[in-house]
Amino acid sequence: MSAEAVTADLDHTADDHGHEEHATTTGLSHTKLAMWVFLGSECLLFGGLISTYLLYKTRGNGRTLPTDVFDIPFTSVSSFVLLMSSLTMVLALSAVTRGEAEAGRTWLLATALLGGVFIGGQVYEFTAFVREGVAFTTNPASSAFFTLTGFHGVHVSLGIVMLMSLFVASLKGKLTQRNAETVEIVGLYWHFVDIVWIFIFTVIYLIPAD
């Protein structure tokens, strides 16, 4: 075995349970650490967007505010769907870690489908808002609302793309116990997107505007 091959093997090995051993300076997976740093930076992005909405939410310039057209029962169902997708995601990771490829695939697909239902709900909600006179440029409040929820929707959509990539990799037999950490990293992203929605649902939708 060449020196490079031995080094590569030492840098990234896995035991029989998908738990990778990391010959890194921290003893931790740097990929996972990088994901956590990224998620920390994402807190700043969404913190800025949420702050902007909170500061502008009553600035309607005499026109309809987003809070006037909220459909709380509908959004509650969407929130529940996204919350349950976090469960299916963690079950996917659990299955892949145990080496149960088929179960892992099923849960990954379920997570992507639940994410799709959430996005479908968001598209419906946006369409209904525009029909009721609240569009992106209606007033500062609507601009801030659509920017915040739109950015969140883009994050969910990217998550669905990542989940489907894992699903396809699993179909090709490339997603095994050995690379369960890849599923964990995508899972971290997905749970973060869920956490952001937990915040948005309470602060933007449920807490009264005045």
Partner: protein, 121 residues
């Protein structure tokens, strides 16, 4: 679904397995069972139902307790997802610190922006 207390680890007992992994790469891997995840999801769903219930003022008037109650329920949901589903409870503390740093900075950005709008404009 696995219904054991932690992930299966044939050649080590659970505490031994966790210790073995901690020793080698500082990451606890004694993740909970699938059943534990389902129980957490049920708690999350129940809290969400309670949150939605507050919207229907005709049923119960929460009065001044509304906003603090909603924030409390949000924090509990946030904590449960971060610690159980994102495994912060079981993984290295460094991961949690990275995430907390982002959260604290985000809260700081909001507070600073708020003071700008309240006192400087």
């Amino acid at each position: 679904m696995s219904d054991t207390a932690t992930s299966e680890h044939p050649e080590h007992s659970e505490p031994e397995a966790a210790e073995h992994h901690d020793e080698h790469h500082g990451e606890g891997h004694a993740h909970p069972s699938d059943w534990a995840y389902v129980k957490i999801a049920v708690v999350l769903a129940a809290i969400t139902a309670l949150e939605v219930f507050t919207y229907f003022e005709s049923v119960v008037d929460w009065g001044v307790a509304l906003v603090p109650s909603l924030i409390f329920m949000m924090v509990v949901k946030f904590y449960l997802v971060a610690t159980w589903f994102m495994h912060l409870r079981f993984d290295s503390k460094l991961f949690g610190r990275m995430f907390t740093a982002g959260l604290v900075l985000a809260a700081g950005v909001y507070l600073v922006t708020l003071t700008v709008f309240e006192f400087w404009v």
